[in-house]
């Protein structure tokens, strides 16, 4: 939970979505898969939850940026999918500000869902596993350097 800084609710201009969706989509997928693998490697993601993701396909769609990340989890690694599956097992779609608020633990996914700022389509239980897995991650504390002290 950020104390001093908070991410406002915003929407990127429609032009950007039109532009963004014409760009290649694999960099998003690769970046996301790399980040998730780093979290798994540091033991932040529990094994019993990861096991439930095996072989399933995911789509994270940033609506106002026009970006899509397709990936899967196979043999212990998150992997980008070069070819988008027709119907992923689970899709999350939201605007960039909602995803940033989720990542910063500033908003609760249920809140965004009730307010129709986040949509979840596909295997609902799989979505719940992922949500609860990410909620249980203990975020590293800021280093206690003099510069960070109030």
């Amino acid at each position: 939970m950020s104390q001093g800084f908070s991410i406002p609710r915003f929407q990127l201009p429609a032009l950007l979505a039109a532009l963004g969706s014409r760009l290649p989509q694999w960099p998003h997928s690769l970046a996301l898969a790399t980040g998730l693998n780093a979290a798994a490697k540091f033991g932040l993601l529990p094994d019993d939850s990861l096991a439930l993701l095996e072989g399933r396909s995911f789509l994270v769609e940033v609506l106002d940026a026009g970006g899509q990340a397709h990936f899967t989890y196979r043999d212990g690694l998150f992997r980008p999918l070069w070819k988008a599956p027709e119907a992923p097992d689970l899709s999350f779609s939201a605007n960039l500000s909602a995803f940033l608020q989720l990542l910063a633990r500033q908003e609760d996914p249920d809140t965004l869902f009730f307010n129709r700022e986040l949509s979840i389509v596909g295997d609902t239980e799989l979505g719940l596993v992922i949500k609860n897995m990410l909620d249980a991650v203990e975020l590293p504390q800021l280093p206690s350097l003099p510069a960070f002290r109030p």
Partner: protein, 337 residues
Amino acid sequence: MSRLHVPELICPAGSLPALKAAVDHGADAVYLGYRDDTNARNFAGLNFDRKAMLDGIAYAQSRQRKVLMAINTFAQPGRVADWQRAVDGAADLGVDAVILADVGLLDYASRRHPELRLHLSVQGSATSYEAVNFAHREFAVRRAVLPRVLTLAQVETVIRNTPVEIEVFGFGSLCVMNEGRCWLSSYATGESPNTVGACSPAKYVKWEKSPGEMSTRLNGILIDRFGDAEPAGYPTLCKGRFEVNGDTYYALEEPTSLNVLEVLPEIAAIGVAAIKVEGRQRSPAYVAQVTRTLRAALDELARNPDRFHVKPAWQSELARVSEGSQVTLGAYNRPWR
């Protein structure tokens, strides 16, 4: 006005970060459960394994906050020992109290662990002082959580006629509130909070998007359809819109959240021992937002009991996280008896 007793603030923890958020933002106690069907929030990936449980209890108790363990489902045929082991485990872990609903389990806990503090869960469905006093006489229950169906006057009647501490809900999603006796989820899916520890389990839920609308289905049953700008609720039968005699509407209950800020002075004045926040299924962000807001309100009440007023900022923070974005006083101020 004599010195007001401000109720304790009891906050939900579905994960270790949520527990820390509750403690850091001013909860007097947190409640949590095991990762199995002994608790009524048995959702995939939620709750505490043994290590997280140990860490969480140490985190809270080292800061002089209490940990209450919810073992609030009903022991299933042939598996009574699983629920008894859960109680034994809670006693070993040194939690400050266990929250139980099952009469058989209350009996076991009171005999096997006479030193363990027992709370009667809302799932125990005790709505009268006779029921609360029965639990006190038979099992030495020290606190009872009242179902969300009573008016404030009825809560006061219970408090005046029992030595048991009374806890009421202060904030969170509402359902039909037939706690411990609701079979709507079982009707649709064959599974319910009482049996598997989850209402409308996620594996039965489907959100279907089509242009301009979203449909919710629970085990194939159409629960509701939302326009793109319409707020959504949890996918339970009690919150669905159904066609009844030619009209389509929320036939049982609208998606809505309870919020007692406006009646906080009355709740304190009648002697409520604690108020509870619903939502172990919610994220650490929600726990932090709600705990912080209710802590501020309770502190303001302690400072200024005669001139307490609800700040708009509290209401807007709570409205933001509410299911259906509605806040009501629930049954507390309803005229019916």
